[in-house]
Symmetry: C2
Subunit: 151 residues, 2 copies
DNA sequence: ACTGAAACTCCCGGGAA
DNA sequence: TTCCCGGGAGTTTCAGT
């Protein structure tokens, strides 16, 4: 190999290609980045094994799938907020798509998706009754203006 | 086909499968949902044509890719906020991963990813100088506690 | 069901430590 | 020399009609 930085540049190019089309063939990727198909596969497998690539997925139009409503819920907790506790308490809620602990006044940002306003309401209710949550602040998404893959 | 609701249930099962593994073969999906491979392909192509499936992509570990910093920026604008304007003004910023107009006190939620604190700072600065933004409220992500595919 | 193509798996060659 | 990485061909499976 030439050096590490060059290798990372190749992997980065491969990932960039896969971000655009996760079903691209190894040959297509190879042509784009200047490698043979088996070489690309080896690198992809390595990145998978190292966890740099978590897996492959499909990009779904949430509206078409009936998840017509989406929102960000900031939660404010009393006392200590451990990631493990958040995972245990919010993990079972299917409408909860992402939870991140954050800096600032809120303790965590919860991203939720639901198919009806009633579902939003009950989901926020479930969040409120969990994990020492004392307050929530919900912002409903009206429309996605920009959405890049790989977020 | 039997009827629309049954078809949607099958499509939903196919999508669910693809969410877990975007590179699953049509045969694997067919075995899982009780269809032949060509039948699965027909349905996937249809969903692609209708935009229900936007495409395929790879799930990347942001940390491994060097996007070690992530944040949510709420923006508050003066006057009218049109999605088209937001797209035009924030689209060119590469660190901006998602922009959604939202209800509540903020006008839009901007999701950003960056590789350094300096990049975060300059990105927020660029956002502030755009689109009649009069105020921003930034929450940096400390850790992702829950992350489901297909968000 | 059939054809073409892609994935997967060897083994080999070359370059660096 | 030894190890690591990329290239190439054969086999099997999958994609596309």
């Amino acid at each position: 190999m030439l050096n590490d930085s060059f290798m990372d540049a190749l992997n980065r190019a491969i990932v960039e290609r896969l971000l655009l089309d996760g079903r691209a063939t190894y040959q297509e990727i190879g042509n784009a980045v200047g490698l043979s198909a088996p070489a690309v596969k080896r690198r992809v497998d390595l990145m998978l094994a190292r966890g740099e690539i978590a897996g492959f997925t499909v990009r779904v139009d949430p509206q078409a799938m009936g998840w017509i409503l989406e929102g960000y819920v900031e939660i404010f907790c009393s006392g200590i907020v451990s990631p493990a506790m958040l995972e245990r308490e919010l993990g079972p809620i299917p409408e909860v798509v992402r939870v991140s602990t954050v800096t600032g006044d809120a303790d965590a940002m919860v991203h939720i998706m639901a198919s009806s306003m009633a579902e939003i309401e009950s989901t926020v209710e479930r969040i409120r009754t969990a994990a020492h949550v004392v307050k929530t602040r919900t912002a409903l998404v009206m429309s996605r203006v920009i959405d890049r893959p790989g977020a």
